[in-house]
């Protein structure tokens, strides 16, 4: 089906945004608090010494990573929870009944996921930036990585939500895939500090490039060249959006 229902798409976007705005404590305040806790813990554990190999103060290194990690996790949470709650409570049928094309449905879900990620990022930056000397060196890179990363994670959330039959399946994906990959993607350390073998392994972690590119936008240095990763990120975002569109179109695990 071709886009025919812009109002429907907008309504779904508003609905999906309402969902996280109605529970601000859980969706916005909690991630901010968690980030502040990390900062405190690392402050006492490591002090604000500079990161080996990159020569930036540790907080300047850590804060963009924390922000990006929260963005990714929140974008994923927004789409995945909406779809799995819908499936478990059987309210996803109203979405299937509405005259929304797959493109419109996916666009609305992703837009809401990006909005949530941006709101969380803005709040985190407002709270954390005073502890650092962060600049916004390459604002376009920051936005590109922030938005593309959120879209990617929103896509994973959609696919994960469709795949899951129950909350348990979803928890499995979140805890055993998303959490480790985001935690081990160089948020807390520079990969240059890792043994060579683990550096190799790390090269296969997609989140590593997202977080590194995002951070480069703030501090102007990174573990990789963010401009070479641009195309990889662009293409993988498009592929994931295409996959979501296709799966939605065929009603994968949504229709009997």
């Amino acid at each position: 089906m071709w886009p025919v229902n812009p109002r429907g798409c907008w309504t779904l976007f508003v609905r999906e945004s309402h969902r996280f705005l109605k529970v601000k404590m859980q969706t916005i305040v909690a991630p901010a608090l968690t980030a502040v806790l990390y900062l405190m813990v690392f402050h006492y554990a490591m002090g604000n010494r500079s990161v080996p190999g990159l020569d930036v103060p540790y907080f300047d290194f850590l804060i963009p990573g924390l922000v990006m990690m929260s963005m990714l996790q929140n974008a994923f949470a927004n789409t995945s929870s909406s779809i799995i709650v819908g499936k478990v409570m059987n309210v996803h049928i109203y979405l299937l009944m509405a005259p929304l094309s797959a493109i419109e449905a996916i666009a609305a879900f992703l837009a809401a996921a990006v909005l949530r990620a941006l709101v969380v990022a803005a709040v985190l930056l407002a709270v954390l930036a005073p502890f650092s000397s962060l600049g916004f060196e390459h604002i376009a890179l920051i936005l590109f990585y922030g938005v593309c990363g959120s879209i990617l994670m929103g896509c994973f959330g959609i696919i994960g939500g469709m795949w899951s039959k129950k909350f348990d399946d979803m928890a499995l994906i979140s805890n055993f895939l998303i959490m480790p990959l985001t935690f081990l993607s160089g948020v807390f350390y520079s990969v240059k500090q890792l043994p060579p073998m683990w550096q190799q392994v790390n090269n296969f972690n997609p989140f590593f490039y997202l977080i590194d590119g995002f951070r480069f936008g703030f501090i102007g240095v990174g573990d990789t060249n963010p401009y070479t990763a641009l195309w990889v990120v662009r293409i993988s975002t498009l592929i994931c959006m295409g996959a979501c569109w296709y799966l939605w179109q065929i009603g994968w695990k949504l229709k009997e």
Partner: protein, 316 residues
């Protein structure tokens, strides 16, 4: 021929577990009709409706709505039908008014607050419209489901057991509302297990059983031709129906009935029924009865008879 609101031809459906829920169902719902889709539990009614609603994948067969092919033109068809699913479920984040606004928007229609308020009023939900849907009772939720299906003013409304769990009085009012909508031109297709209601409301009935259609008639015709009418005559305790009596009265398929005999009445062109002929024949044979009466089968009797006949056929 009148325009068809819904035309289904040879629809089949097998679920992933191999269960064949629909085995080639065909039905035509004329525009403007009040149409009953009846059948015992597990007959395939909800499967059919869920295929229309795009919740369940179809098997083979074709479906069109007001002449538009459902599978080729889903978006158009979805905008022109409102479906009340059998299962009641709501998003716990929203209250009834918000639910209706969201549904309207999703159907591409600017929320019309006058109509939404009217719906809430007609379905007696006004005083609950700011409660969270979780705080509604089962019957209230089902009424909200009905409101949701009507919010974009579809010309075809499909209701899958809309009155299950709704109390008697509200059920009546709900039906009055449906009748009004129907009078204003909305086509209504409904399933229900309250057969007296279906008999009273609907002008056409299709009965499905085990995924096949076992009857498809205008209600009046079905009740005239298929619903039996019996004349029973009582002749006291020592009445016996002999073999000869049975042969003599064979036109009326006589059966002993407690203290007397029961004769089947047929519809006769030009007369209301064969009542007079049956009565005469009985009086000629047995003399004047001590008591007499006519029993009319209702939709429930017809329903049970047809679905049992179907069971026998399937089992044979």
């Amino acid at each position: 021929m009148a325009e068809l609101a819904l035309h289904i031809d040879g629809l089949t459906k097998s679920y992933n577990n191999g269960k064949q829920a629909l085995k080639g169902v065909s039905l035509d719902v004329p525009a403007g009709s009040f149409y009953a889709l009846l059948g015992p539990n597990g007959a395939g009614k909800s499967t059919l409706i869920n295929i229309l609603a795009d919740i369940v994948r179809p098997g083979d067969g074709s479906i069109s709505l007001f002449g538009h092919d459902l599978f080729a033109d889903r978006a158009w068809c979805k905008r022109h039908m409102g479906v009340v699913p059998q299962e009641v479920a709501f998003d716990p984040f929203f209250n009834p008014r918000e639910v209706l606004k969201i549904t309207s928007g999703m159907f591409g229609v600017k929320p019309d607050m006058t109509w939404i308020d009217e719906l809430l009023g007609r379905l007696e939900l006004t005083e609950h419209c700011n409660k969270n849907t979780r705080q509604l009772s089962g019957g209230m939720r089902r009424r909200l489901l009905v409101a949701q299906a009507l919010v974009h003013r579809p010309p075809l409304v499909i209701l899958d057991e809309p009155t299950a769990g709704v109390d008697v009085e509200l059920r009546r009012r709900l039906w009055d509302f449906m009748r009004e909508l129907n009078a204003a031109g909305t086509t209504i297709l409904l399933t229900t297990h309250y057969l007296e209601e279906a008999e009273e409301l609907c002008d056409h009935v299709t009965i499905v059983d085990k995924g096949t259609v076992v009857a498809d008639r205008p209600m009046r015709e079905l009740m005239r031709d298929v619903a039996g009418r019996y004349l029973w005559l009582s002749y006291g305790d020592d009445f016996v129906l002999t073999q000869e009596d049975e042969v003599a009265l064979s036109a009326f398929q006589p059966r002993t009935n407690g203290k007397g005999v029961s004769l089947t009445l047929r519809h006769v062109e030009g007369a209301a029924s064969s009542f007079h002929a049956a009565y005469e024949a009985a009086v000629t044979r047995f003399g004047p009865p001590q008591d007499a009466g006519v029993r009319q089968e209702d939709l429930e009797d017809v329903f049970i008879r047809l679905t049992h006949e179907n069971d026998d056929k399937v089992n044979a």
